[in-house]
């Protein structure tokens, strides 16, 4: 197992008492797996990913990366952000080389690595552009290249295509699968879109509304490239959608209860 999450609980302090964001979360992720996490808004998906990234501490439970506890952020876990989070004053190349600079990789080696990943994400020729000169899709390609340049064990993606239009989004999904196959990375991908999860994932984790925990896990066996128009795809999407809808419908009640003591 590359990632082991056991009985994870995360709560945030509140004015009075605590607010439990994630409760009893258990998940094991295999090397090379593509896991999508789906769940109603506010169920703790971002929090979970930030915990794995080391940006957020855990309240209790076990969190192991290759059998070693995660204690803080590190370049062994690459993160791709919904709002891109590129350094505006750095060119595409310099953004991709950021982590390598920190690791003091010599410039020639740095250039070779950034060149490889810029090419991998299809941005050859845009090395010297600045983020504000790029479209949303291109920005996220930079985000992916930057995360991959450190050769992380895990690629963490928080609604990475959420800010893109539908067409770009579909294209980026295809591109991501290509990159995933080429780099053989383990991916944890958060999304709001059932369609996106069905298209991408080996496994889909559906979470309950807050406090977030696992409701159900779906193994997706449809061979890639997946045809959205196929019967199996439609079937899977329908099943998950129904599952999720039940959760969203029950959410307001749960939310009201948990927020009544704010």
């Amino acid at each position: 197992m590359i990632l082991t999450i056991e009985n994870l609980i995360k709560s945030f302090p509140k004015k009075e008492g605590v607010m439990v964001a994630i409760q009893d979360f258990n998940l094991e992720v295999k090397e090379g797996e593509f896991v999508c996490i789906l769940g109603p808004s506010g169920c703790g998906k971002t929090t979970l990913l930030r915990i794995i990234a080391g940006l957020e501490s855990i309240t209790s439970g076990k969190l192991l990366l290759k059998d070693k506890p995660i204690i803080g952020p590190g370049s062994d876990r690459g993160m791709v952000f919904q709002e891109f989070a590129l350094f505006p004053w750095r060119s595409v190349r310099k953004n991709v080389e950021f982590g390598l600079e920190i690791k003091k990789v010599p410039p020639t080696e740095r250039a070779a690595i950034s060149e490889r990943f810029i090419e991998l994400v299809g941005l050859k020729g845009f090395e010297n552009y600045h983020p504000n000169q790029l479209s949303g899709g291109m920005k996220q390609r930079v985000g992916i290249a930057r995360a991959l340049a450190n050769d992380p064990a895990l690629l963490l993606m928080d609604e990475p295509f959420g800010a893109l239009d539908a067409q770009t989004r579909n294209l980026m999904q295809k591109e991501l699968l290509r990159i995933w196959l080429e780099t053989q990375k383990t991916v944890i991908f958060i999304t709001h879109s059932v369609d996106e999860a069905c298209y991408l994932a080996d496994r889909i984790v559906v979470m309950t509304s807050r406090p977030g925990t696992i409701k159900e896990i779906f193994n997706v066996t449809i061979p890639r490239p997946r045809d959205r128009a196929s019967v199996e795809f439609a079937q899977l999407r329908k099943t998950i959608l129904a599952e999720l809808e039940r959760e969203v419908v029950s959410a307001p009640i749960a939310r009201d209860n948990s927020e009544a003591n704010v």
Binding site: P73, S75, F87, W89, G99
Partner: protein
């Protein structure tokens, strides 16, 4: 907007600027003729004095306007440089480390309301006529620089810090590779504001005394000897210097923002 209408808009504003300048000069001229006071000369007399001040050395000071500008400009730059080297590190630390902010804030907020001009008598007595204008500029420029650097550090997009941390950045790297570059455009805003304040300070400080001339001192001397057209010429020089430095700095700020992709 297409290029043609941009050009048209630009041409329009140039015409409007010309008209407004013309109206300003006509009003000045009409008022000075109407009141007919020797200390309020008409524009043509002032302009003549303005050009003459650059050619003929002033009989009281023994130097030309060019040399006065040089003297003031040197003090301006020295004061600015001093403010720079103190305000930037302090501002970065105040923005980055809460305890430095808590510690320095009461002192800063206590001194800030004192107008730079109010420091002039003290600076003169304590540090003499050389340091007085330099320190007055320093006081005037220091606060806009500090405020904007602190603002810059506090405005850093938290997701950039997160991104850097997931890339393996420690505290020092966050500071040098994210926070410092991010605050550069903010610093430039402070510089532009400081440019405007700096000239006010220099004129005020030079009124007490100035060794080797200075435009502020020049204005005062002309008033004392009743050489009013030259007094106005000095005022025009200050206006031009202020306008020039503020415009240049604003332009530099814009270029830096553009180059850094932070418009």
């Amino acid at each position: 907007m297409d290029r043609k209408s941009v050009m048209k808009r630009r041409l329009q504003s140039i015409v409007i600027i010309f008209v407004s300048m013309a109206i300003f000069i006509v009003i000045w001229w009409a008022l000075s003729i109407y009141f007919d006071l020797n200390y309020f000369p008409p524009p043509d007399v002032v302009f003549e004095a303005f050009f003459d001040s650059f050619v003929t050395p002033d009989p009281n000071l023994g130097i030309t306007m060019g040399q006065n500008i040089e003297a003031s400009f040197a003090r301006f730059l020295e004061g600015f440089a001093l403010a720079f080297v103190i305000a930037i590190p302090l501002g970065l630390l105040m923005g980055f480390m809460p305890w430095v902010d808590t510690f320095a804030k009461p002192i800063v907020e206590l001194i800030r309301p004192i107008p730079p001009i109010a420091w002039v008598p003290f600076f003169f007595v304590a540090f003499g006529s050389f340091w007085n204008p330099v320190l007055t500029v320093f006081i005037g420029v220091f606060f806009p620089l500090l405020t904007n650097v602190v603002l810059g550090v506090k405005s850093v997009d938290p997701s950039l810090l997160d991104a850097a941390r997931t890339q393996g950045a420690g505290r020092l790297t966050l500071f040098t590779k994210v926070i410092m570059p991010f605050s550069v455009p903010y610093l430039m805003t402070g510089v532009t504001i400081g440019m405007g304040v700096g000239w006010m300070c220099i004129v005020a400080a030079e009124w007490i005394a100035a060794v080797g001339g200075g435009v502020g001192y020049y204005i005062l001397v002309q008033q004392q000897v009743g050489n009013y057209p030259y007094m106005f010429a000095g005022m025009i020089v200050i206006a031009i210097l202020g306008l020039l430095t503020v415009t240049l700095s604003g332009y530099a700020e814009k270029m830096i923002r553009k180059r850094m992709g932070m418009l």
